[in-house]
């Protein structure tokens, strides 16, 4: 589906005419990211991160495939082959640093993308399916990143694998058999390393598949925009190409500058030194911490330090950690405010900036810190707020809040007036 004023693809020469008849790939591209896709004209730079996330997925797949040519998933040699890549493979150090920091950048842009979705309520009708698929992509990313971090077989690889698979051990009765089944043994070893490598190679292609669904679902209602007012007429939109290809090109330049600054000048800044020590099952690191992008969820896991009635503390932590992400699936039905954009929601905005964002920062810091005071107490307060925010405050705010008046249309928001505006029509949003 598209807006009636979308430009139509016209094959111009013999080759494109031939293709358009036999396999209309050029038409697909034209309608997906070309001039045939009308996009709201008022998107801010927060709308750049979807394209960037797709870009970093490609970076990860390309560098990952090259690394897999030189890596051996065997507990005896995995650490040594990683060093072989760093020392003996031509440009191997660049491939590995690009891959390790590429994972970090993939998460940075995806977190900004999710942040955009939360502030502008991009999850609301008619875009629920885009949001649901996005949460699926995020879960797949977490699994992929976790398994990738195990592959160099350093100390954090090994102990991270032990801790994370140990989470399944918290499930009553069946937990331990599940953990043994997942690892292929009682502790991470060759069996676990091999299957993690296999899955780490497979999952990015699954992600790519869900990304296609995510974009497909996006093209049905079209992109949201900072006002949250749906597109009404042609003057509300511009064609994706050249307007947003140009804007995304600039955004990509900025992202690449930051990315390569890290790759070339501070490639280990986001990693943990312990992962340059070969895995040793007999020596536990002083502080086992996951990669930075898991810190908020790791803080939630560790916040539950005492048993809650009959639920053991560890199980409570595991349930909370999974629930903290799974609850995103329900956001479209929890937040029933007809107004999408946080710019027009005074109460929502207050809780967002002064509640959720500080809580996430606290969780991030606590997740990377050792399990000592004051971090434990802070993470417990922030965890409590996190759940209250999404599951209690958001539904109530959406009922009691009086939204600020919306512009009639995107055109009016940008230009100050809209010729197509119908006199007397109120500015209530189309839901």
């Amino acid at each position: 589906m598209s807006f009636p004023w979308a430009r139509q693809y016209e094959p111009k020469n013999g080759l494109t005419k031939f293709l358009d008849e036999k396999l209309p790939l050029p038409r697909l591209v034209y309608n997906a990211v070309g001039a045939g896709y009308p996009v709201p004209r008022n998107l801010s730079y927060f709308w750049n991160f979807g394209v960037l996330a797709g870009f970093f997925l490609v970076v990860q797949i390309v560098t990952g495939v090259v690394l897999a040519m030189h890596y051996a998933a065997n507990a005896q040699v995995a650490f040594a082959t990683t060093e072989h890549i760093m020392r003996d493979v031509n440009w191997g150090w660049l491939m590995r640093y690009a891959h390790a920091n590429g994972a970090s950048f993939f998460f940075i842009v995806v977190y900004l993308h999710i942040f955009r979705g939360l502030f502008y309520s991009s999850y609301k009708a008619p875009r629920e399916m885009i949001w649901l698929l996005g949460v699926v992509i995020f879960l797949l990313m977490m699994a992929t990143a976790f398994m990738g971090y195990v592959l160099p077989w350093g100390q954090m690889s090994f102990w991270g694998a032990k801790v994370i698979t140990g989470l399944f051990g918290a499930i009553p009765i069946v937990g331990e058999p599940i953990q043994v089944w997942l690892l292929g043994g009682f502790a991470p070893d060759n069996a676990a390393l091999n299957r993690f490598f296999s899955l780490h190679f497979l999952l990015p292609f699954v992600i790519a598949g869900v990304v296609i669904l995510h974009i497909w679902a996006l093209h049905i209602p079209g992109s949201s925009n900072p006002t949250g007012v749906e597109v009404k007429s042609e003057s509300d939109t511009v064609p994706f190409h050249p307007y947003y290809t140009a804007k995304d090109g600039f955004g990509l330049g900025i992202a690449l500058l930051a990315y390569f600054a890290l790759v070339f000048f501070l490639p280990n800044a986001l990693g943990h030194p312990d992962n340059y020590i070969e895995a040793n099952p007999l020596s536990t690191p002083a502080h086992i911490v996951p990669e930075w992008y898991f810190w908020p969820f790791y803080a939630i896991l560790r916040a539950f330090t005492v048993d809650f009635f009959f639920v053991p503390a560890k199980l409570m932590g595991v349930l909370a950690m999974f629930a903290s992400i799974l609850l995103w699936f329900f956001l479209p039905w929890l937040d029933k405010s007809p107004v999408r954009s946080g710019h027009y929601r005074p109460l929502f905005r207050k809780f967002f900036w002064f509640g959720l964002i500080p809580a996430m920062i606290v969780l991030f810091i606590c997740g990377g810190a050792p399990a000592e005071e004051p971090y434990v107490i802070l993470s417990q307060i922030a965890t409590a707020y996190y759940f209250i925010h999404f599951l209690v405050i958001l539904p109530i705010v959406s009922s009691v809040e009086k939204p600020e008046p919306l512009p009639y249309s995107i055109t009016e928001a940008v230009l100050g007036s809209d010729k197509t505006m119908v006199k007397g029509e109120n500015t209530a949003p189309a839901v």
């Binding site: 060093e83 600039f250 070339f264 929890l334 029933k336 209690v392």
Partner: protein
């Protein structure tokens, strides 16, 4: 509508359960904090900041320093520590000629196989060989070192926070624990076979002070071999063994950054131009 309401009621209940559980843990934690004495840990020192030729985005190896560091490793560290990811051929990067590397390798004995009998034996090294381990295996290493296996040094400066500074500081950080420290933290006194070092996280290290006297190593370039000098030289050498490609990495980075900066400016200008028609006039 009823369905939607029930989704939200269930969500609120779930949210309250998790929040109450987290706050319950908080209350228990605060009570414990208020009633229990915290266990004090003797503080250790952060590594000193040294001025390395290779640090910073424009850094370069000081080949003379790396050669001196190799000599310190060779004559002191190599007695107990392996360097298993470094091959003799890599030493050409330190400014040695092919012939020098060949001679250096040949002076080392590496494990081999007797071509006549097939028995394990030792043979002179070749440039393609890696630095041999001082011990045949970990059991032998542990047995010879009071059960503490000397770690491989290839990646040491990457395997510790602020690694190069840490290694240099540690090597100069051996001293008797002060009386005040022992008065406050009696458990900080070094046990049998342990040595006090103020940069080591638990203050007691199984490694005996390796660099004890000035002039322990005689440098070929005439540099005076103070303990400080030997420590920084070997730390610099280990920074090289941990990442021989470090300088190439930084040097590759600059053209990439300059190209990207140029491309980004161009992208910005084309974006400006393309959008000029639809942007509202101010």
């Amino acid at each position: 509508m009823l369905k939607l309401l029930s989704v939200r009621l269930v969500a609120m209940a779930v949210g309250l359960v998790f929040a109450v559980a987290a706050l319950w843990a908080l209350v228990v934690g605060v009570i414990a904090l208020a009633t229990e004495e915290p266990v004090p840990h003797a503080p250790y020192e952060k590594p000193n900041d040294y001025d390395w030729s290779f640090s910073g985005p424009f850094g370069k190896w000081d080949q003379q320093q790396l050669q001196r560091g190799l000599k310190v490793y060779d004559e002191v560290c190599a007695a107990c520590h392996s360097l298993k990811f470094v091959a003799f051929r890599d030493l050409e990067q330190l400014g040695y000629s092919e012939a020098q590397v060949k001679a250096y390798a040949a002076a080392k004995q590496v494990p081999g196989i007797d071509p006549n009998t097939g028995e394990a034996t030792m043979r002179p090294g070749l440039p393609t060989d890696y630095f041999p381990s001082p011990y045949p295996n970990n059991v032998a290493a542990a047995a010879a070192n009071n059960n503490a296996i000397p770690p491989d040094l290839s990646l040491m400066t990457k395997a510790r926070g602020d690694g190069v500074n840490y290694v240099a500081s540690l090597l100069t950080g051996y001293q008797e624990p002060s009386a005040e420290l022992l008065a406050e933290y009696p458990e900080a006194a070094p046990g049998p076979g342990l040595y006090h070092n103020s940069y080591f996280p638990n203050l007691n290290l199984a490694m005996a002070p390796p660099l004890t006297t000035d002039g322990q190593v005689t440098y070929d370039d005439g540099t005076e071999a103070t303990i400080e000098q030997m420590s920084t030289d070997v730390a610099a050498f280990l920074a090289w063994t941990a990442e021989p490609s470090m300088i190439k990495r930084k040097q590759t980075g600059w053209p990439v950054m300059i190209f990207l900066l140029f491309a980004t400016i161009l992208a910005y200008m084309s974006k400006k131009q393309i959008w000029a028609a639809v942007k509202p006039k101010k």
